[in-house]
């Protein structure tokens, strides 16, 4: 059943891909195949393997229970948040928040997670910024 749903989703994606290929603007210079030919070939494989999955499903996925899915989605949201606050808060502060969260969710007590987060964030910052010379995001105070 999982395979069938997957097949339907990828079928829709392949149809969208074919549509998006068809609206690619052609340039005045072009080779024999042009920019559309290869995507059409790929779309064919995407389309036909989707059809196969719909008609011959084999695999039944075991999805995690509700709480675990929420856990994964919240973690993804935290990663997004990290990406958006990074240029404002700077590397050290944002990474402390990120690592503390991950360590806490993986089972460390929150205080220990925070101390650990501070340690590795500062270590990574010092290591990469000063020793290895990588430019990391900095806040207005310079860290």
């Amino acid at each position: 059943m999982t395979d069938r749903i997957l097949g339907i989703i990828t079928l829709l994606i392949s149809i969208f891909y074919i549509y998006a290929t068809s609206i690619i603007q052609l340039s005045f210079i072009s080779d024999v195949i042009g920019p559309k030919g290869f995507p059409y070939i790929i779309a064919f494989f995407l389309f036909s393997s989707s059809i196969w999955l719909i008609f011959f499903p084999k695999f039944q996925a075991i999805w995690p229970k509700g709480k675990k899915i929420i856990e994964v989605l919240v973690t993804a949201a935290i990663f997004f948040l990290y990406a958006s606050v990074l240029p404002h808060l700077g590397f050290v502060v944002s990474t402390i928040l990120l690592t503390t969260y991950i360590s806490w969710r993986m089972g460390a007590a929150i205080l220990i997670a925070f101390i650990y987060g501070v340690i590795i964030s500062i270590t990574i910052f010092v290591l990469f910024n000063y020793v290895l010379g990588l430019s990391l995001a900095k806040n207005y105070l310079g860290f």
Partner: protein
Amino acid sequence: MDVFSHLVDGFAVALTFQNIGLAIIGCVLGTVFGALPGLGPANGVAILIPLSFALGLSPASSMILLCSVYYGAMYGGRISSILLNIPGDEPALMTTIDGYPMTLKGRAGEALTLTGIASFYGAIFATIGLVFLAPQLVDIALLFRPHEYFVLFVMAFATLGSASSDNKVKTILASAIGIAISTIGIDNQTGVPRFSFGEVHLYDGIDFLIVIVGLFAVSEIFIFIENKDDQNKGSIVQKNTPQITNIIPSGKVILKTVPSMIRGGFLGFVAGILPGAGASLGSFIAYTFEKKISNKNDTFGKGDERGVTAPEAGNNAAAGGALVPMLALGVPGSGTTAVLLAMLLTMNITPGPLLFEKNPDVVWGLIASLFIGNFVLLILNIPMVRIFAKVLLLPPKFLMPIIIAVSFVGVYGLTGSTFDLMMLTILGLLGWIFRKLDIPLVPVVMGSVLGNLMEVNLRRAMTISNGNWMDLFSSNVCIVLWLIIFFAFILPMFFNLKLPSLKKNSR
């Protein structure tokens, strides 16, 4: 001979202070990545690639660092296979079958030493094979037109499909998804934007490095987050690592295992050379073959020494063998070599015959440092193996924050773009969903790395042939390659050559 003078030049590159240091760091990190269940060579290399760019390492130095990680992971994978019955990475799966019974008999130390020797033998054998075989392959590859290259890429996906998944259709689907990702962005032959929907960030396409780090590293973090409660009950943390007492096996035992190492190494190397097959297939074939010819007293599966040495020699040899087509033809032989190829491409180096002519320092410096690295790994993995066994006690709650922070630092350091960090998260989620749906990740990554090259070669071929598609079947090389594609998909169906799925055992 020509090869030896190249090799001498290679040692001159490899023996600089910086490159020796990188090789040692790579070997240590690789062994750690290999030893930790859930993190394999592909994750390790994926996390380090953006860093080696951002740090401005030269192509030769980056390759030395990353290939040391790759070789190191092949050594390290056996540690948790033997001690905990959990394969440290996929190629080490076969080692659990006889390795863990040896541990139960109190022979963990011996098993680790024997597999250390076997790994060393396999890796050195494959590296010597690489020295002699790669230049031969380069001579053949010089005759290749874009037509042959295109068919060669098709073959890489076909052999991958024959070995990697139970469900071939999903391998096709995964490859198509990967290649489709590679078509996003400006078409570099005509300059028209494709699939970017007016989003400026997508004009450059989705960098395959982000695909790699997202699918391999970030999705692994989601898997850990999802399974964190089970993990505390079951695997790494609570199981005590068995005591490693005697690490020196008797001379008689070593002699007994020598033939199995030689056989395993040879089979593994051959398996590794096949594009798309990789190290898991190498250890699988080596173990199956060894069991067939040596299992006279029904000792296999109950702690026979030859049952650990054969697959370990096999997977290390396959890892080296996989470098042959990657360097000589630009066609990766496994997931990790696809990642290494991605790195070279991003550094504007196209592997293949031209690499050997234009950048001999990269090729031969790498080969020389692999020789040095193997001696380092021998020391790390036999006398110092107890230290790495301690790594297994490092709980994920302290490990995962480092992995995620370093992944983000690497990608941000490379592109300086927060859009790419969001893309990384999306691809991580996608990778997590793919794993749930039993869609193999390696073809997706290979597709995103090779898709562009495939298209360029196809379009060049058609321009040369004036749009005559039958030209793809005209030359002898093409016909041979198409036959391999045919047999790689059909033969395994007859012999039922399936790799046992890792998921059932480790998670």
